[in-house]
Symmetry: C2
Subunit: 313 residues, 2 copies
């Protein structure tokens, strides 16, 4: 599989497009829990989520090719990341989104200068449309997670954690399609296999947990506020990597996700989205044993009114 | 005055106690304003504000002395910073606060293990009590701003901005007693005097602006939501430094402060306190000319319910 050098090469390649997010902590949360808690805040990443790492990795792997444009199917963070990359490279992009996507997300993607194509609400319709556009217009299709270059891009977070130099016992990572988790797990296990890598899913949307238990990819019907984690089935490429490299998968409840968002807002001064908060929720459930725990917070993109709602509860 | 080496020495001395906060930006805010906007987020600093820099600088300047304890008068960020430093050094601390201080602030200071002494609501009562305690108990008094070591500590932010390597046209800095502003201005002007350093005050609490206009220190009656900036008169030491080193002072309205907090929460995923938002408010008022502007955000300590209130407006 991947080696340390693979991730170092990708990190160097994507560095013009990506921040190295600095790790934050909170003394008061440490005292509350009896562990040393750290957050890798990809909410402070360009475009507000880690997705830019994978998109940049994919695009920069095509060096020498004449890239006409980029296309993908995503109304969320991945769509913003692809639009941003296209803009950074002064090429065109088309983002395929469902016709029921919220106005705020459409605005965010348009703000990066992408063209938007709307199709029906089903995810296979979007995917087909994106692939059609890719063929007809010779635009590069950027997959959200099931791609080795994308996975390596997300894995650069693992490299930054290792290079941080601080001792780490466990890393908690949200699971959507499994790109972030398989990237980070591949990187960390290639360098320091003693560090435990834990995937986290909402109880209402746990296709990876279900599939790992079953030993094969299983479909589920997701129901969670964590909109970035509403995946129906794990990726073909990501699933076997998670099987091999990840130590455990933990499930968290909806109330725990909201409580984690609130605590991080209050104690760490960071806005994190529900999908990013699942890793924090899992970290907060750990027994207090003076361990060094890191939660990778995947992003911070959510409607500002939602923040007010969550605080008021 | 101070030289680059002074700040480098202080930065090395305080580095065990202080984060180097990484600078954040927002593409969407840049497009909104026509400038490149950056934030130096001291809300992500230990204790949630820049005050730890000054406190750490003062304490570490006393090397070789046997320090029994620390004492100061402050119910806000400075109180937390002094309590934190005492805890980090395993010594005692006493924080003198007014008997009308909000419960949340008292809790935060107590959480760092400090002893609290309450006196009447007047600031001179607190100061006298702190100085009495300092003498009687041989605790070191840590001034909030009017002290060369404290000023140099806050000035390390200027050094981090210079070392960032990115071109900077203007830096915006909130003014309370003037410690943060005089520190940053001294540092930047010692290294790269071309960078403009701008102080920012709320219209309802502008003792520095009023004093600079008058050519001497003037008293005012502060009235602003920016609770950290409710200063009655500029410092004796900070005032002449601001006179000499600072390019301009800008005033912002209360509505502009709230709007800046909201924008930073929404676009930059950061919780900032009203006192920290004044610099962002001033930066947002700049004409769009493709300039590189940095707002130093002094802190992020505010009641979580206040955040909900500000969003809902």
């Amino acid at each position: 599989m991947f080696t340390k050098i693979d991730f170092e090469q990708v990190k160097a390649r994507i560095s013009p497009f990506v921040h190295e997010t600095s790790i934050v902590s909170s003394q008061s949360l440490n005292e509350l829990t009896g562990n040393s808690l750290f957050i890798k805040p990809e909410c402070l990443q360009k475009t507000g989520s880690f997705k830019i790492r994978g998109a940049a990795s994919k695009v920069t792997s095509l060096q020498g090719q004449n890239i006409k444009g980029l296309v993908t199917a995503s109304s969320g963070n991945h769509g913003q990341a692809v639009a941003y990359m296209a803009k950074a490279l002064s090429i065109k992009s088309i983002i395929v989104i469902p016709n029921n996507a919220p106005e705020a997300k459409i605005k965010a993607i348009k703000a990066y200068g992408a063209e938007i194509v709307m199709v029906g609400p089903k995810s296979n319709e979007r995917l087909e449309m994106a692939k059609d556009i890719s063929q007809e217009m010779e635009y590069i299709y950027i997959p959200p997670y099931d791609d080795y270059e994308v996975i390596k891009g997300q894995g650069t977070i693992g490299l930054e954690l290792i290079n941080w130099g601080h001792s780490i016992d466990k890393v908690f990572v949200p699971i959507g399609g499994g790109g972030l988790l398989s990237g980070i797990a591949s990187c960390i296990k290639a360098i320091n296999p003693k560090i435990k890598v834990i995937g986290v899913e909402p109880q209402g949307s746990c296709c990876m947990y279900t599939s790992i238990k079953a030993g094969e990819r299983k479909e589920i019907s997701p129901d969670t506020i964590a909109d970035g984690l509403r995946t129906v089935i794990p990726g073909e490429i990501t699933f076997p990597i998670v099987q091999k490299k990840v130590d455990d998968i933990i499930l968290v409840e909806e109330g725990e996700i909201k409580e984690a968002m609130k605590l991080v807002l209050e104690r760490m001064k960071l806005v994190i989205e529900p999908s990013g908060a699942v890793s924090v929720a899992a970290m907060l459930k750990e027994k207090g044993e003076g361990k060094n725990l890191v939660a990778v917070v995947s992003g911070g993109n959510l409607d500002i009114m939602k923040i007010a709602e969550i605080i008021a509860k």
